[in-house]
């Protein structure tokens, strides 16, 4: 019978991905609510230091899975290794963080196991001995409670930022670290990866900017960006954008905020015509004060805004620029 909770730890070049500790908070919570025992597993090569960092947390055991074929991440290698681990340990839950790497292999893992995978969860609750997962649909506009009707192991991944990594509980004494033997001899790695790289060195570092004015899809066309630029200049702020704006090359890529761009935490973030898709929000939700200007009162950006103006940005932005000019003139 499937028992326990198995948390997948993500590491690259021996460095732990912090989102694994966020997922650990969820896993520790589910463990205490259901009485299931929590262990973690680390895949790779030369992962002793990651394993001991994890072992200092409150869990029963840390398993290490080392093989030359796991030295660099590949989908085939990870699916083959993690399948053997899940079959060997037969946990009731497999918990992961919803990283790009997990998105690349875990659905195949679920498929080859014939099990269900609840992706991109933002929370959970327990109902008796069951766990009901919360996940967002329509890009964060609607929440759903998802009940799993399929047999365990149940896979679930948690979205970055759903839990705080520093809330992962530590233990008084370190958990035992146990190597797991798997057989990778027959595993064929079909993909060849080249070294990873960054696109032309980022020219603009927005992470230090105290004031940011960001523009999104609501601006409609490239010519209209000017009014937002004017606002940023008047305010002495950096201009930034959501992904669609940079995809259209209306502003350069190095102005992009979000999961595929920069992460910022300015004093003031003014979001103009940005609906607030989760991919954008993860990059700016830690701003001290957030202002949202949007025509759609239901836009998810208002869920995290301190101040909101619902209306036509083409009227509001110039008015705001004029007002700031006036105030500065008084200055």
């Amino acid at each position: 019978m499937s028992q326990g909770i198995l948390l997948f730890i993500e590491q690259r070049d021996g460095v732990l991905n912090r989102t694994s500790f966020e997922a650990m908070v969820a896993a520790q919570g589910i463990a205490s609510a259901t009485g299931e025992k929590l262990s973690a597993v680390v895949f790779g090569k030369s992962i002793a230091s990651v394993a001991s960092e994890v072992a200092a947390r409150k869990l029963e055991a840390v398993y290490t899975v080392e093989d030359n074929k796991l030295a660099e991440y590949t989908c085939d290698g990870y699916v083959a290794a993690s399948k053997q681990v899940v079959e060997k340990l037969d946990p009731r839950f497999v918990i992961l963080s919803h990283t790009y790497q997990v998105r690349d292999f875990a659905p195949k893992l679920a498929a080859t196991l014939g099990k269900t995978f609840v992706t991109d969860c933002v929370g959970y609750r327990t109902d008796g001995n069951d766990v009901v997962f919360t996940r967002q649909i329509f890009q964060g506009k609607i929440n759903t409670d998802v009940r799993v009707t399929g047999a365990p192991p149940i896979l679930a991944s948690f979205q970055a930022g759903s839990y705080r990594a520093d809330k992962a509980e530590s233990a008084e004494s370190a958990a035992p670290i146990a190597p797991l033997e798997i057989n990778m001899g027959d595993v064929q790695i079909r993909t060849q990866a080249e070294p990873k790289f960054q696109e032309a060195k980022q020219a603009v570092d927005l992470s230090q900017a105290p004031l940011i004015v960001a523009v999104g899809r609501g601006i409609k066309s490239q010519e209209n960006i000017e009014i937002v630029q004017k606002l940023a200049e008047t305010l002495g702020a950096e201009i930034a954008a959501s992904r669609p704006i940079c995809d259209n090359e209306w502003l350069p890529m190095d102005r992009q905020i979000g999961s595929s761009g920069q992460t910022v935490s300015p004093k003031l973030y003014i979001a103009v015509g940005i609906s607030g898709a989760i991919q954008h929000v993860v990059g700016m939700k830690n701003a001290q004060t957030i202002v949202a200007i949007n025509k759609d009162a239901e836009a998810p950006i208002f869920d995290i805004a301190d101040y909101g103006i619902v209306g036509d940005l083409f009227e509001i932005v110039p008015a705001l620029t004029a007002e700031i000019e006036k105030v500065k003139g008084e200055g």
């Binding site: 659905p107 991109d120 009901v132 790289f197 995809d247 004060t289 101040y307 105030v327």
Partner: protein
Amino acid sequence: MNIVVCLKQVPKKDSILRIGPDQKWIDERDISYEMSEADAYALEEALRQKEKHGGEVIVISVGPERVRQSIKEALAKGADRAIHLHDPIFDTATDAAAIARSIAAALKDEKCDLIMTGLQSDDYGFAQVGLILAEHLGLPSATIVMEVQPEEGTVRVKRELESGWFQWVRLPMPALLTIQSGINQLRYATLKGIMAAKKKEIREVKAADAGLTADGLKPAQVIERAYLPEKTKRTEFIEGKPADAAAKLVEKLRFDARVI
């Protein structure tokens, strides 16, 4: 080079979404639909590859009658033919595994070099269907692809990693790629394209044709309740004419939040 593109039809981006009467999904009355954004980019990428290397683009979609609209749009943009999985049985096959199993069954006899999907849909956002499909078909895969370079028997793709990092990966074909939004510039259908689409084949596949049963497509995860998210912050909404609202906002930013 033959490319299959998996298309999903979803409510339009600017739809006002309300919770439906059963509180398990949105209220679908008065909703209009469109191709899910990342799938539209996958289609565009497939059309561009076909224009460079020849071959055929086949689109496949699961869903009710309305889905034909998006299929026709794909054909008008230049896809050669389409497969429509159209059966009430698919209406309840709502999890990623059931959808992927259905598509895998319908593609059993298709010979293709690449399958492309969007990286995730704009409605459920599972980000799983493509990969599960690849697993069923025994194909290597790459996700969140930003550039596609077919070579002799292989395809070299640029994958987006997190925080501005990228990586080129080479895969043997056939392979499955999930495409990131913004990989290319979308085209519009031309009048000529729309006329040509009228003669193109849309093959309708019923569940039984693909050897699928309602029992075999029972979802393993279901939405128990759908609801609007609770706000994590109390938003102070500022009302009034633009000039008045702007003045009020600036005052609050100066004297309450003290950020300017």
